[in-house]
Point group: D2
Chain length 266, copies 4
């Protein structure tokens, strides 16, 4: 920390935010996120060029420097339920999400007109039950190399490990339960059957194991015996979109670090 | 509902609270809880005597009438963690729990002095690893026939089906997770490993299947990557005692009905 | 209660939901809401015609019977902030709000295209600083006699007592604070200055006294010293729209009764 | 930040936690809290001795170094409601509060036996209506110079500015409302009258203006029209003790900084 902050200070950077976390103060991983401001934009190249030899290599760091005004390219995948998609588009238009939403891909046509109203290209990639590999291939053609983040905004198809490996960008999924409870299909139905008094939603990075990736954010809402599955879906929907919106925003601000299957959110 | 309220009205009862729930308005189970006030205490016997033939049998009801000022006998089982126990004793002294706490049974002696300070008998029933049946037998001797509710306030021994069948009273357990997530042992440890952003506590009736009985109440608290297992236990502890306190209170007020493996809390 | 339920039962009504509340069990006001189902639609007229003489007059009741499938006419007033408006329109399209949204009136043109996309008439009624009475007169011309509920979805003009008296429908407002804290102007600014750790939103019926009408619903979100006024507005915005959505939905389902300056929400 | 971390690093300190906040990145106040570990305990004196000339004076800092294992002396003032007091004592015994609770002062005798059970001296300082100055003088005699923190755990007497000036330690108060709503007397009564749907509790530093000091922590609980003033007091009580416990703990860990009438909680 002394090394990083001194290196930046000496090159004219004003550190405006700094967060750190050690998995173990004595010998664990040390995670650090700093935001800094440069009066002289040109100084950035010097910092980028010198950081590795000056600091990074000395401490064996994994490091990355990104301009805060750089816009990441985001693609959204969605199936029939449009509430998370619309909420992201609306937050994006409202400038809550600093990114370029470059395309929306869906296995249904339901959201086409809504997406068009936001001026975002809509691609329909249907998934026939026996032709999922072909659909994934088509999506890879649309995505690979042209996207920095893929958001699964209630996309109800399970993506293969091959797809995840080749898409070349992290994926964030919203699952409509309080994970690890009710991983997999029909969480509201199962929440109702179990008789829980609170339901939740979970945004997580996608890994090959279903609903088991690092959790970025969760939130919950109280329900009662009066709430049937439809009511759970309605109440949960409000949570899903808020949770997904937070997770995507934090990711775009580089606030989310993955460490040992968990996230650190700075 | 018309039949019940008319029957009560005609016998001078003033209905002061009424809640109902139908699992399905057309043919499901109908659950009804009424509180009524009688000017003339003696009228209660007439209501009790007449309700079955006058109303209950006609509609095939399961029904029960209880005086609100009747105190149930409660026994608390506890192991080493004393926070839920102390909270129940304190709520009881403060008259938040309308009951007689008749005994505290523990497989450790840690809580003995605290319990004594509340004027409640403390019984030490150690559980040797190879002699659980004997311990259960001893507890049955202390409990059976002399208790209306058993509360497991962080009692860390699994009770056998035989014990549950013979104790003759419902049991409420507090589990230190948001069920069905992290049922079983070491939920805080597992919550930490999974990296959840919210932890919870669940009060439920005990059935033979571990942590699978009808849920009475749940609550949650937000945590972060900074919170290790000890912090989760500390933060969760505050939720555990509130959740257990509510569940016991509601049970003692006859607000909790079980229907199809779930509870209806009026 | 016995009288009402017996009256309905005798006319073939199946009571599917019932809630009651007494301000004081012995002599207070008694509030009752029942939902019932009729096999024979024609029986409703008999119930309506007979209820007053059969039950209502006998107990001096204020009463009303409404068909659940009857759609109320809702007008929305909005200024520049569009998040609550869009959320209501979206919930309405999604059939979460059982109503006809008949018009949106705004003192700005910002929301015009968005409203048009939902197929709802948009009316621009600018409010010149010195000509508020004229603007109110114009709005009364658009509203009076043709609306059952007016929703102020971040409408930033104070409506006069004369307007409230003449519009002929209840008004629900969303205020962006946890009332009674920060009533009036710039609540997020003032919340920031006071250094509160939680902010909220309040949906309430509008009365002549600013932000003092009966509260229907409130919710909150945790904030920290890191959140400036912009962040409070962003975080609070998510709460505002959920709180307003709930309040409007409950009002449309006739779940909200006013009693002594407070609401009872069944 | 570079200067501080380098200074510490060079003297063998391992920084295990660090938090910073700028009121304005360009010219505002900069607040920094660091926890560090020293292999060699003796090095602390060097750090203490050198920090001012080496770093502090150069940047015009207000700074302080405290050993984490140093126990602050805490006095608790209480009136009749004992729930916050007992909770603090219980957390203290459970080692959640790293401090010495050196005395409990009350204007009533109600809590005497409870306090004695924790082995803490209890002092009864009654406050006659016309002799508050004498009572304050007596308390100053007990407190001044022998306490690092005074906690008002539902102490219902207003302390004079003179007392605050002379006691020589910060005071934390728990107020049973969601400030700034319902500052002053009888907040639950007034919450009930206003018909709020959520109640809260606020822990804050005490200043001469009643309930207007910097807020450390707040929390809330949902209530309904069914909850009378007694129920609000019961539900709110659970929040009060949690909020006060958190605030005291954070204060004792030196996590709370005051800046411009607000707190920064690291």
């Amino acid at each position: 920390m002394a090394a990083v902050s001194s290196f930046l200070f000496e090159r004219g950077a004003n550190i405006v935010a700094s967060d750190q976390y050690s998995t173990d103060p004595f010998g664990g991983s040390f995670l650090l996120r700093m935001e800094f401001h440069l009066e002289d934009d040109a100084a950035l190249e010097g910092i980028r060029a010198g950081f590795g030899t000056g600091v990074g290599e000395r401490f064996g760091m994994d490091w990355r420097i990104r301009r805060a005004d750089e816009r990441q390219r985001v693609a959204i995948l969605v199936s029939r339920e449009e509430h998370c998609l619309l909420d992201l588009l609306w937050r994006w238009r409202r400038a809550e999400l600093h990114a370029d939403i470059t395309q929306v891909i869906s296995n249904h046509r339901d959201a086409e007109a809504d997406v068009a109203a936001f001026g975002v290209p809509f691609r329909h990639v249907p998934v026939a039950p026996d032709a999922k590999p072909r659909a994934e291939e088509e999506m890879l053609g649309l995505l690979a190399g042209s996207v920095d983040l893929v958001v699964l905004a209630r996309y109800m198809q399970i993506l293969s490990g091959d797809f995840l490996a080749r898409v070349g960008a992290p994926l964030i999924n919203i699952h409509h339960s309080f994970l690890p409870a009710f991983a997999g299909a029909q969480p509201y139905q199962r929440a109702r059957e179990r008789g829980v008094k609170i339901i939740g939603a979970t945004a997580h990075y996608v890994t090959e194991e279903l609903d088991a990736g690092p959790i970025i954010e969760q939130d919950v809402v109280r329900v009662s015996h009066r709430d049937g599955v439809d009511a759970l879906a309605r109440l949960g929907g409000d949570i899903e979109r808020v949770v997904l919106g937070r997770a995507v925003r934090w990711h775009l601000e580089d606030r989310v670090l993955i460490e040992g299957g968990r996230t650190v959110v700075f």
